[in-house]
Structure formats: structure tokens, C-alpha cells
């Protein structure tokens, strides 16, 4: 029976010397067959399993993870959550995700520490200002909150930013999404894992998928794994960065290139930044974690890579931009640097829904922004797996768009050319 977390439980466990806590999820051995198998035990995979069980009542579900849950991109991102997109299809989808995040802690009975501290995208020229107003207009038309900030308002809100006219990146204004923010990335994974497990989902770690079993009609009949074969007729793939490799195993190609995306965290500082701030000119964005570390991200590495470490020129570009824009941080030391491998698609929008292989469904191509989409990615893939039809929000994001040409070019929406 699942333990319910509350202030009272914390108090009671404190009295008992913290010895009464139970594991938050089981570690079962794989069963010979499942109704649905989800490949990838990150945020998207676990959210998919959770919504399969909760919304559609499908409880014979396995989540297969080659390492440990949340050890891939879910544990390597910069935790930003936002829905400041331009096109209607994107705005609807990411706004749905943001709304799910707003009530996620309550729904999962797990504190994901979602903090709506806002996100400011800086405008560094009069042209940027015009584009920011255009973006704000598009966002408002799509029902997403958007505000334009004057330089004076930005100076008040972000005192460490170099606002002087001689600055290397002068500031002419900024676009604010107040409801954007950050969440604790591990907590999102663990919250979904615990909630899915409580509904009967088997979370199987250290279980790498090595191949697909196919029937005479080409449809999937199961997966080969490092822990033996598992029979199933419905498979969801949620393996950010490695989607091409799974597709190759199944015999098709995706419009995806894998790149390393690096991030950094500084030593803990006293509070200096109460928002997420992005500079589209440099691709650098930053927030301060609840522990005090500055969490810093930048653009992609320069060439395709599966090496989860990143290269030096990008580190220099990112940290050089931070030092130029925030002179007070010039001597701050970094604690850690890491890289995740991301699925980059030509139009910078995800691929959700059917694959060329019957029974095999995709949740991939989130590029550099998969974390904010965890709740909606899980919702859409679960709907597809349960009903075998695309979720209403997912329809524009099918793989067919690369044949029909109906691309959703959101490179501008992210502010980063990815």
C-alpha cells in the first residue's frame, strides 16, 4: 500500500527516527508479457505509464530503462518550464503541459517544487523589441500570458544584469512569461514513478532493449531485452537522444540528428536572481536553484554527438556571455558541467504518434526542451497507446508532416537555434 506523504507523515516519521519510510516504488522482475511496453524510464516514459494506468485503466504496463530512471536527459536538463511559443499548435500543447505542471504536486502527492518565478527573454536591439511585441501578441492570441518589460523594469527585476548603454549586449526590453518557472527535475521523475507504481505499473531498471520482435504482418509482437524477451503488441518509445537508434532497430529512419547540449551549475550563492532569464543573442539562459546554484544553459554543441560530455568551445562561449552580461558573476566558480544528448528535428518541433511500424509509437524530437513537455508528452503518448488514435493536441506533430510539408517551425519560439 502506498504511503501518503503529508506534513503529518513527516512529523510522525521524525518522531520515529525516520526509520518508517517505505521505498517509493518496487523493483519487479519483468513478466513474460504486458499489454503495453514503454521504452525509456525518463520523465516522458514514466508519465506515459502513469496516464495509461490512471486515465485509461491499462495497468499491465512495463517501463523499461537501460540505466536508472531519470538518469538520462531528465537528470541533465536545466529545469525550465514555459509555454512562450509562437504557433497555435505549439502554444496549445506547451500550455497544456504548463497547466498540468501547475497541479502536478497535488495530483502525484509528491512535491515537484514547481516555482513560477517567470521567464524573461531579453531584447538586445530595436528589432528584437519589435519581435518581442509580435511574440507577445501571438502568445496572447493563443491564451498564454505575456508581458513586455521596459529596460527600467528589467533593471529593477534583475539587478545583476549589465544594463549600461555600453554593454556588449545592450538591453532594450524583454518579454516576460510570468507563469513560466522551474521545477525539481528528479522530483518530477520520482513523483511519476511512485504514482505509476502505485497503479500497478512495473518499472524495470537496468533493462536495455536490444531488438524488436515482429509478426508476419510486420507489426510488433514484443521486445528483446538484456533481461530476456517480453511479449507485447503496443510499444511506446520515449528515449530522448537515442530515438534514431531505436528506429534503426525497428528498420526505419527519423528526421532526427543527435547533438550534445551542455549545462552548468555554479557554487551556491545567496539569492541574486529570482527569475529565469534568456538572452537570445547568445543563446544563454540562467536561473538560480533553491539551493543557491546558478543553473546555466547555452546552445548546442557544433556537430552530431552521442558523447554525454560536451566540448570546450561551447563552454567558453556560454561562460564568456555570462561574464559579459553579469559582470558580478565573473569570479563565481562552477561546481559541475554536464551534457545530454538531444533529438534535433529540422523544424524544432516534436514527433508524436504512429511510426512506420504497426504497434510502435513515438514520443521524440523534443530537441533541447523536453523537460517542460513531460506531462503533455506522457498524456499524448498514453492516449495514442490506449486508443490507437492520435491525441487531439498531437495531430499536427505526426511523422507525416515531413512528407506533407506541414512543418511547425518553432526555432524562433525557443529563442535558441536548435
Amino acid at each position: 500500500m502506498k504511503m501518503r506523504y503529508s506534513a503529518w507523515t513527516v512529523f510522525k516519521q521524525g518522531l520515529g527516527g525516520q526509520r518508517g519510510w517505505k521505498p517509493a516504488w518496487r523493483s519487479p522482475d519483468p513478466k513474460p508479457d504486458y499489454e503495453v511496453v514503454v521504452i525509456g524510464g525518463g520523465g516522458h516514459g514514466l508519465a506515459t505509464a502513469y496516464y495509461l494506468a490512471r486515465t485509461y485503466g491499462i495497468r499491465r504496463v512495463a517501463v523499461l530503462e537501460k540505466g536508472w530512471i531519470g538518469g538520462g536527459n531528465s537528470g541533465r536538463n536545466t529545469t525550465a518550464i514555459r509555454s512562450n511559443y509562437y504557433y497555435r499548435a505549439s502554444a496549445r500543447m506547451y500550455e497544456h503541459s504548463l497547466k498540468l505542471y501547475e497541479r502536478l504536486s497535488k495530483e502525484l502527492n509528491y512535491n515537484v517544487m514547481f516555482s513560477q518565478r517567470g521567464m524573461i527573454s531579453l531584447a538586445h536591439s530595436p528589432h528584437d523589441v519589435e519581435l518581442a511585441h509580435r511574440q507577445a501578441g501571438a502568445m496572447r492570441l493563443n491564451g498564454v500570458d505575456a508581458d513586455f518589460l521596459t529596460p527600467a523594469e528589467i533593471a529593477r527585476r534583475v539587478p545583476i544584469l549589465d544594463m549600461s548603454p555600453e554593454a556588449r549586449f545592450p538591453v532594450f526590453g524583454g518579454l516576460l512569461q510570468k507563469r513560466a518557472g522551474t521545477a525539481r527535475h528528479d522530483a518530477v521523475v520520482w513523483g511519476y514513478a511512485r504514482a505509476a507504481d502505485a497503479l500497478g505499473v512495473d518499472i524495470i531498471q537496468n533493462c536495455e532493449v536490444t531488438g524488436f520482435r515482429r509478426g508476419a504482418d510486420g507489426a510488433v509482437t514484443g521486445v528483446e531485452t538484456s533481461r530476456g524477451p517480453i511479449a507485447t503488441t503496443r510499444i511506446g518509445v520515449a528515449v530522448a537522444g537515442h530515438s534514431s537508434r531505436l528506429a534503426e532497430m525497428a528498420g526505419f529512419r527519423l528526421p532526427i540528428t543527435s547533438y550534445a547540449l551542455q549545462a552548468f551549475v555554479s557554487e551556491p550563492l545567496k539569492p541574486v536572481l529570482d527569475t529565469v532569464i534568456l538572452s537570445p543573442a547568445t543563446g544563454v539562459y540562467m536561473s538560480q536553484s533553491d539551493k543557491g546554484g546558478l543553473v546555466i544553459g547555452g546552445g548546442l554543441d557544433l556537430y552530431p554527438s552521442y558523447a554525454q560530455r560536451g566540448n570546450m568551445p561551447v563552454i567558453r562561449n556560454v561562460l564568456g556571455a555570462v561574464a559579459a552580461q553579469y559582470p558580478a558573476l565573473g569570479r563565481v566558480r562552477l561546481l559541475r558541467q554536464w551534457a545530454g544528448i538531444v533529438d534535433v528535428v529540422p523544424d524544432s518541433s516534436p514527433i508524436i504518434g504512429a511510426s512506420p511500424v504497426p504497434g510502435l509509437f513515438l514520443d521524440c524530437g523534443w530537441g533541447t526542451g523536453g523537460f517542460k513537455a513531460i506531462p503533455v508528452g506522457g498524456t499524448m503518448l498514453a492516449h495514442q497507446l490506449a486508443t490507437l488514435t492520435p491525441h487531439e493536441l498531437a495531430e499536427p506533430f505526426s511523422l507525416e508532416r515531413f512528407t506533407t510539408g506541414a512543418l511547425i517551425d518553432e526555432a524562433a519560439g525557443s529563442g535558441i537555434a536548435h
Binding site: H242, S244, R245, E248, R253, L254, P255, I256, T257, S258, L302, Y303, P304, S305, Y306, A307, N311, M312, P313, P346, F402, T403, T404, G405
Partner: protein, 98 residues
């Protein structure tokens, strides 16, 4: 940091270069016989392997010429550098960069 041997300029740091993605892509044709699915695949589908990858590079901050690189995407090791018109080297080719 990679050091890449441009066939014309010699070894330079990676920041002088741009990677142009997969090489040896053949444009399907003639155009009037190409269906949308084939054209879509030509425009967007990539090999994207974990391991040996044949790709085009541009010496953007140097001679501004294109050439091919055989590179491992997991280790970043460069196995060969060769001209655009040359055939791809065999996958076990240990040829050093020229």
C-alpha cells in the same frame, strides 16, 4: 576540442569549421517521377548513427571549402578526411587525416 585537418589548410581548431551533417546524400530523380514520400525522406531523414558517421564539413573561417570527414559520434575520433568527390573510405579504414 577537435583538431581537424582541412585538406587545403592543414590542422586547425574545430571552431574554424561548421559541420554540414550527413554526406554522400544522393538527390532522387528525375523530379517528375518522385513521389512525396521519397522527396520527404530525401529532405529530412538522417542516418544519425552512434559510431562511424560520414559527414560534410566547411572550413568556414579559413578557405571556405567543403570536404568530407569520417568521424565516430560516440568518441569524436576522426578516422579520415577526404575530398567531396572521393568515395567513402571503408569503415575499418585507419587512414590518417591528410
Amino acid at each position: 576540442m577537435l583538431q581537424i585537418s582541412c585538406p587545403w589548410c592543414g590542422p586547425r581548431d574545430e571552431i574554424e569549421f561548421r559541420c554540414g551533417g550527413q554526406s554522400h546524400i544522393i538527390r532522387p530523380g528525375p523530379p517528375e517521377e518522385i513521389d512525396d514520400a521519397t522527396w520527404g525522406r530525401y529532405l529530412s531523414e538522417k542516418t544519425n548513427p552512434r559510431g562511424d558517421h560520414l559527414e560534410r564539413w566547411l572550413h568556414a573561417a579559413g578557405c571556405r571549402r567543403w570536404f568530407n570527414v569520417a568521424r565516430d559520434t560516440a568518441t569524436h575520433r576522426i578516422r579520415a578526411v577526404y575530398h567531396m568527390i572521393e568515395a567513402a573510405p571503408a569503415i575499418d579504414d585507419e587512414g590518417s587525416a591528410r
